[in-house]
């Protein structure tokens, strides 16, 4: 082929000129002039380049974990747990860490806005906006009670007090304040109230439980207090033998919590109550002679024995022998803990199910050993779905003049069937306190943007003895105002007989309530209450060992009987109808922070879907409908209809379809029905007609093959064979690299890992990993340095055996990536890291192609961080550009920092001093990092365990990561 273009410049000459011109262009003009602008008066504690930490609280779910915010030059860059705080204990889940992206969300409101006659929002001054709101409230008050309504998240603190006081001051009733927590386990409260007179969620200690049985309660993902429960549960894992905590998952769909279970009882949707009754029946059956039964539960035998085990098993959709086997386990392995129902099992009989589970707990003596009453402060009990429906009705009837939405988005959280949007259109003044546009703000007449939690003062008491304090970690980014301050200022304009609080300043409010409590607790001879308060602010709260109720709960006379009968059997499903299962996930919870970039970008652990809703159907259902993953399914229920891409998942029953809660599709399908006893939403118990929509919408799927194909990539061990298989590595091609000082290495305990993705978010935050979006995800391009690999089994169609494997750079001793780089951009450091030098990388991608673990990611385009998201970037880590390969560094910036500290203090680096971001945040404490050269280090001891194996060890890469095999239990006889 000719090198000369038709009548033009020869190609080579062109390239030479272009190359030289490029060089000249790159060199001649100096980089644009930069300005250095000094501060007028420097803040005393901010030193440029040195991180500063503040303690505050996480408000992404009602659990209320403590948070340590790392700030640099006055801006928050990363959230971690607060090690002193009793709920999180230093860990923070995926959603909690992603809160920093809500702070820097590009769409945040810059200041108060008012909707004009043309329907558009335009900026308005705070004074004007508050005046308008005060006038509207005054007018509504004059028209009678109940015309001012407030919707809020649970606020167990001063903010809740102010809301209540404001409503009371304008003549409102307590019911005018709707506490919107869609996933609150109201049936557990209702059952506790009915049985024991205790409308509480019991406090748990799962570490003491030998067996945990969960009826749809995703306690490792979003149920009640997932970080705390994960820590407790993991404490009983990672060992072989009878003292390892077992988990049994009961539900129609295998959730991520179910993946950690040793056994999955594939109960039919709605079959949870018959199954629970079957367990209780077997336990109290005198014929089974279970010793040490609580007598008040044993006395229920006559009522229970009337139920037929075969009938119960048939209604549950499981074998009678399975029920008996689990009942035997509960009788033998004490104490245990029966949890539930969770959202995916919360049907119209949810209170009865919760009651039977509590009776089982009482029967086998779990109260006082793994669960306690008396620690739920019950200061802020969320409203029920029935109350939410009543509010929508009142709005639709024109009985509401002012609707205040404070940190709640009722129009997105309530089922579409309630038509809350249409009802809101009949409210003359809808006021949203949202930080950024949401469904309620889209209909609001007035937007009074709240500070983000990281800009606010506040107090949260998630349970007795725990007082967590929120304080600003940075100055507010925009012209926002804390909602509690706005409410107090509005109250100030109402000419009330007495002010609601001494001042509208949120800090004064914090001092007035939390401050007084702390100082009173510290009062005493020789005590210094002021110092106690200062210390509480510094540590992030004040915690005391509140004593749980000593006495066991007393079963009220005849209270149990009403829960021990089953209603008529549900009608058989019509042709084409399946049970609808709605489930929350660890990444999205109830969906309130759903659209944050990290939470969208990180694939769901079980399905590897990102950026899209999906509907799970079993392979048999898929075969029947003739669809495969990515084909659109049409779901039509009594509440509404939706089209969702299918994901074929063997972890769901053939008679069910599952959709994630918090998605618009789940909202459209969500039944308006309730559990009549507790008033809770019946997420379960409805059916939808399922058909193929005949179109395709390819899902952004990260998985390759979800099967191990006989390669035993993830190993398991049993009590009978407690050692993992190790490869024979007698042959060496390359000289062994030497690591004279340190050899950084990691051990990951797969028996503790729950796949909650907290580590992945931590990695995104710490290492400036870019978010590439849905299009890139559809092309399989995902920049995460750490991903949770998930295998569904060995071969398609084989037994379902879900295994998780956190996969990150293995920092191999014989690293295949290093030998193929033509420019030495990746090389082996003396400390054993496979370094990636971005400024040397030319993007050949040879290294990635040669990596057996597929942990290197390539920047196909420049990352995009829309303002003000760049404020979150970690200044200690390079932001990579297009054309560069990147990968896990074992958080080398943290290694260097710790080494520097040690050198300053003239000592060697201590074991445990270096904690990579993933290990730091792990709620299960499954990750250990340390020096493999030190045989006494915690890492070396963990890696020597017989359960230890290395991924693809047979290729002789000699990874620095040792996985500790998951323990598979021997089947019960």
């Amino acid at each position: 082929m000719s090198d000369r273009a038709q009548g033009g410049l020869p190609r080579r000459t062109f390239l030479k000129i272009a190359g030289a011109a490029g060089l000249a262009a790159g060199c001649s003009p100096k980089a644009a002039t930069q300005k250095l602008v000094p501060l007028l008066v420097p803040p005393e504690d901010i030193v440029p380049g040195v991180p500063l930490y503040y303690r505050t609280v996480c408000r992404e779910c009602p659990a209320g974990c403590g948070v340590t915010a790392r700030t640099r030059e006055g801006r928050a860059v990363k959230l971690e747990g607060n090690p002193e705080e009793p709920i999180g204990r230093g860990a923070l889940c995926a959603r909690g860490q992603a809160a920093v992206q809500a702070l820097y969300h590009p769409d945040r409101f810059r200041g108060p806005m008012r909707r004009g006659a043309d329907g558009r929002l335009s900026p308005v001054g705070w004074d004007q906006a508050e005046d308008q709101l005060a006038q509207a409230i005054a007018a509504a008050r004059a028209r009678g009670p109940g015309r001012v309504r407030l919707v809020t998240r649970a606020e167990p603190g001063a903010a809740g007090d102010v809301q209540r006081a404001l409503l009371a001051a304008v003549g409102g009733r307590p019911a005018d304040r709707l506490v919107l927590e869609p996933l609150d386990p109201a049936p557990v409260r209702a059952a506790g109230a009915a049985l024991f007179g205790r409308p509480e969620i019991p406090a748990l200690d799962l570490a003491a439980a030998h067996t945990v049985v969960s009826f749809g309660a995703d306690f490792l993902e979003s149920w009640v207090s997932p970080v705390e429960y994960t820590r407790q549960f993991a404490a009983g894992r990672g060992r072989i033998g009878d003292d390892r905590t077992r988990l049994v998952w009961v539900g129609p769909r295998l959730s991520l919590t179910g993946v950690s279970a040793d056994r999955w009882l594939r109960v039919r949707s709605g079959g949870e109550l018959p199954l629970a009754l079957g367990l209780l029946r077997w336990v109290v059956d005198p014929g089974n002679a279970v010793a040490g039964l609580a007598p008040e539960v044993a006395a229920l035998a006559p009522a229970l024995l009337r139920l037929s085990p075969a009938d119960l098993a048939a209604r549950a959709g499981v074998a009678a022998a399975d029920i008996e086997g689990l009942a035997r386990e509960l009788a033998r392995r004490r104490p245990s803990a029966l949890l539930g129902p969770g959202p995916s099992s919360q049907g119209p009989d949810a209170t009865a199910l919760a009651a039977v589970l509590l009776l089982l707990d009482l029967a086998v003596g779990n109260f006082g050993r793994t669960m306690w009453y008396g620690l739920d402060p019950a200061e802020e009990v969320p409203s029920t779905a029935a109350e939410a429906a009543a509010l929508v009705e009142a709005m639709a009837a024109g009985q509401v003049d002012v609707l205040l939405a404070v940190n709640a988005d009722p129009l997105a959280a309530l089922p579409a069937a309630l038509k809350a949007g249409e009802a809101a259109a009949r409210v003359p003044l809808v006021v949203s306190f949202a930080l950024r546009p949401d469904a309620t703000a889209a209909r609001a007449h007035l937007i009074l943007p709240d500070h983000h939690t990281l800009e606010s003062f506040g107090d949260v008491s998630p349970r007795a003895g725990v007082l967590n304090l929120a304080q600003p970690v940075m100055t507010p980014l925009f012209d926002t105002r804390q909602a509690v301050q706005v409410l107090l200022e509005v109250a100030g304009r109402l000419q009330l007989p007495a002010p609601l609080a001494p001042s509208a300043d949120p800090y004064d409010l914090l001092q007035d309530r939390a401050g007084k409590r702390v100082q009173q607790a510290a009062a005493g001879p020789g005590a210094d209450p002021a110092a106690a308060w200062r210390e509480a602010l510094q540590r992030g709260g004040a915690w005391s060992d509140a004593a749980p109720a000593r006495r066991l709960p007393q079963l009220a006379r005849d209270a149990a009987a009403r829960f021990l009968a089953l209603g008529p059997a549900p009608a058989p499903a019509a042709a084409g109808e399946v049970d609808l299962v709605l489930f929350p996930t660890a990444l999205h919870g109830d969906g309130r922070s759903g659209e944050l970039p990290w939470l969208q970008e990180i694939p769901d652990t079980l399905t590897s879907v990102s950026w899209s809703p999906w509907a799970e159907i079993s392979p048999a259902t898929a075969g029947r409908l003739g669809v495969r993953s990515g084909d659109l399914l049409a779901l039509a229920g009594a509440a509404g209809r939706a089209e969702v891409p299918a994901y074929v998942f063997p972890g769901i029953r053939d008679d069910a379809v599952a959709v994630r809660l918090g998605s618009a599709e789940a909202r459209a399908l969500m039944p308006a029905g309730l559990d009549p006893v507790s008033g809770a939403r019946a997420y379960a118990g409805s059916r939808v007609a399922l058909s193929a929509a005949g179109r395709r919408e390819p899902l952004p799927l990260l998985e390759g093959s979800p099967y191990q194909h006989g390669r035993e990539i993830v190993q398991t061990v049993t009590a009978a064979a407690p050692a993992a298989r190790r490869a024979d590595l007698t042959h060496q091609m390359y000289p062994e690299p030497r690591h004279p000082d340190h050899r950084w290495a990691m051990a990951i305990d797969l028996d503790r890992c729950t796949g909650c993705e907290a580590c992945v978010v931590a990695c995104f935050a710490e290492n400036n990993v870019p978010v590439m979006g849905a299009e890139a995800a559809r092309m399989g391009r995902y920049m995460g340095w750490l991903r949770i690999e998930r295998y569904l089994g060995d071969e398609p169609g084989g037994a379902l055996d879900v295994q998780l494997l956190p996969m990150l750079c293995q920092q191999c001793t014989n690293a295949p990536c290093e030998t193929v780089c033509p420019v030495y951009a990746t090389y082996h450091t003396p400390e054993g890291l496979n370094a990636q030098v971005y400024n040397r990388c030319v993007g050949t991608r040879y290294c990635s192609n040669n990596c057996p673990y597929k942990v290197r990611t390539f920047n196909w385009r420049d990352p995009e961080f829309r303002a003000p998201l760049p404020m979150q970037l970690n200044p200690d880590v390079t932001v990579r550009s297009r054309g560069v390969m990147e990968k896990c560094t074992f958080c080398v910036q943290r290694i260097r920092y710790a080494e520097g500290q040690a050198r300053d203090e003239g000592r060697p680096v201590a074991d445990g001093e270096i904690v990579p971001a993933c290990a730091q945040t792990c709620p299960a404490q499954a990750i250990v990092f340390g020096d493999a050269n030190d045989p006494a280090s915690r890492l070396s001891r963990a890696a020597r365990a017989p359960r230890g194996f290395r991924a693809l060890e047979e290729v002789n890469t000699q990874p620095a990561i040792t996985y500790l095999a998951r323990v598979r239990r021997a089947e019960e006889p």
């Binding site: 190359g19 030289a20 011109a21 300005k35 007028l40 380049g49 040195v50 003396p830 030098v837």
Partner: protein
């Protein structure tokens, strides 16, 4: 197909090579600052130590630009030079900034690329003198860059120091020491 190099390609190649060779080797001249600030008078004549103003050099990655408050600390009292009206005029310029509570927008003199993680603390604590990189600032009127601040120049020193104690200082030439 012809294999003879054309004159045009030779010329452009030469220009490119020259540009490459000179790129970054010669430090730029001192930039024009918003007000005249003489390091000679402060650090030289009055022998004020570097860390009196660049306060975090010993304990942070960044040496620190002195705050306006720090200028005020002395110039609350030093308002004129009785012998030199030119210097008095310079001080007056500063005092105007202080009166108006405005920061001086200094033009940056030393700059490393974003991919380099340089820390003053590590260098100062290892006994590197400020002047080794910044030159004899106490003799300069306006601060200017004297060292090329290229990777080759950094490494030249790192190699020399490493050769003094090769075992202890193996890290000095590791890429990850400066690039993260």
């Amino acid at each position: 197909m012809s294999c003879r190099p054309s004159i045009a390609s030779l010329l452009t190649g030469l220009a490119g090579a020259l540009a490459l060779a000179r790129c970054g080797e010669r430090p730029p001249p001192a930039p024009v600052q918003p007000i005249v600030f003489s390091h000679r008078i402060h650090a030289g004549l009055n022998a004020i130590g570097c860390t009196s103003c660049h306060a975090s050099a010993e304990h942070a990655p960044v040496a620190g630009i002195p705050s306006m408050d720090r200028c005020r600390g002395c110039h609350k009292f030093v308002k004129e030079d009785k012998d030199d009206p030119a210097i008095t005029a310079q001080i007056q310029a500063l005092l105007r900034y202080l009166d108006e509570d405005k920061p001086i927008e200094w033009v940056r003199v030393h700059r490393l690329p974003d991919l380099v993680y340089f820390t003053h603390e590590r260098h100062v604590r290892s006994g590197v003198q400020c002047s080794e990189c910044h030159g004899a600032v106490e003799k300069m009127e306006a601060a200017r860059q004297v060292a090329p601040l290229t990777m080759g120049w950094c490494l030249e020193c790192h190699r020399r120091k490493q050769a003094e104690r090769p075992l202890e200082r193996a890290h000095l030439t590791d890429c990850l020491t400066c690039h993260k």
